[in-house]
């Protein structure tokens, strides 16, 4: 069975500093996608960043970047220059790719990040 583990239920960071959220996953498959989603308090969940397993280069979206270690099955999210608006629940998610189709998104339990002024 595929699983996603986020070992940090809660984290906090000072504004303007850098924080890294960890995520590990377990699968025997070789082709898959990895995602980080953000759910701000009382607001809709949005996609932060996405990584395709066959790509060695780590994905980057502005202040958000990932450290994808395929052999270690690790997919951490780094937030640089943290802003108050980054306060949210962050979910790591994983999806297997089957030829021309895909499986379902499997989510971790989430990490609650608080950015302090």
């Amino acid at each position: 069975a595929q699983t996603v583990t986020q070992s940090q239920p809660e984290m906090s960071v000072q504004e303007a500093e850098t924080v890294t959220l960890s995520c590990t996953y377990d699968t025997s498959e070789n082709n898959y996608y990895l995602f980080w989603y953000k759910q701000p308090p009382s607001r809709q969940m949005i996609l932060v960043i996405r990584q395709e397993a066959y790509k060695q280069q780590n994905a980057t979206e502005n202040r958000f970047s990932v450290n994808f270690q395929k052999a270690a099955k690790s997919f951490s999210l780094k937030i640089s220059d943290s802003q108050l608006g980054d306060t949210a629940m962050y979910f790591c998610a994983f999806m297997i790719r089957y030829g021309g189709s895909q499986g379902n998104l499997i989510f971790g339990k989430g990490t609650k990040l608080s950015v302090k002024p």
């Binding site: 996603v4 809709q44 996609l47 979910f91 895909q102 379902n104 989510f107 339990k109």
Partner: protein
């Protein structure tokens, strides 16, 4: 902008009632999903639909059913609500390649008393 709306933000129902949660998306997405979000458990997939009148079970379908009569609308039905179905329910949609970004609704917080 993609918009996914859910019929209610908060809902309180009694045990045994039939409950309908509605979701509408305006981007002509083929796929629609219903998730349940519980503290410490993350999101779990209840059902999804990849086309009108098509549905597939997710990880926790027991006690739920769904309906998709029109492409833009996906309903989650609790035939006989129970207290253990008290939760946050999230709807999402995306284009046919499910690795495409899923767009989420604001959620419905359902309390069953």
């Amino acid at each position: 902008d993609v918009k996914v709306t859910q019929s209610s933000r908060y809902l309180v129902k009694r045990t045994g009632e039939k409950v309908f949660l509605e979701c509408v998306q305006d981007m002509d997405h083929e796929n629609m999903f219903w998730y349940r979000q519980d503290p410490g458990l993350g999101l779990r997939l209840i059902y999804f639909s990849y086309d009108v009148k098509m549905k597939e079970k997710g990880d926790i379908p027991e006690g739920y059913s769904v309906s998709r009569e029109k492409k833009e609308r996906f309903s989650l039905i609790l035939e006989s609500a129970s207290t253990n179905q008290t939760s946050m329910y999230l709807c999402a949609s995306n284009f046919w390649g499910r690795a495409n970004e899923q767009y989420f609704g604001p959620g419905t917080r359902l309390t069953v008393t």
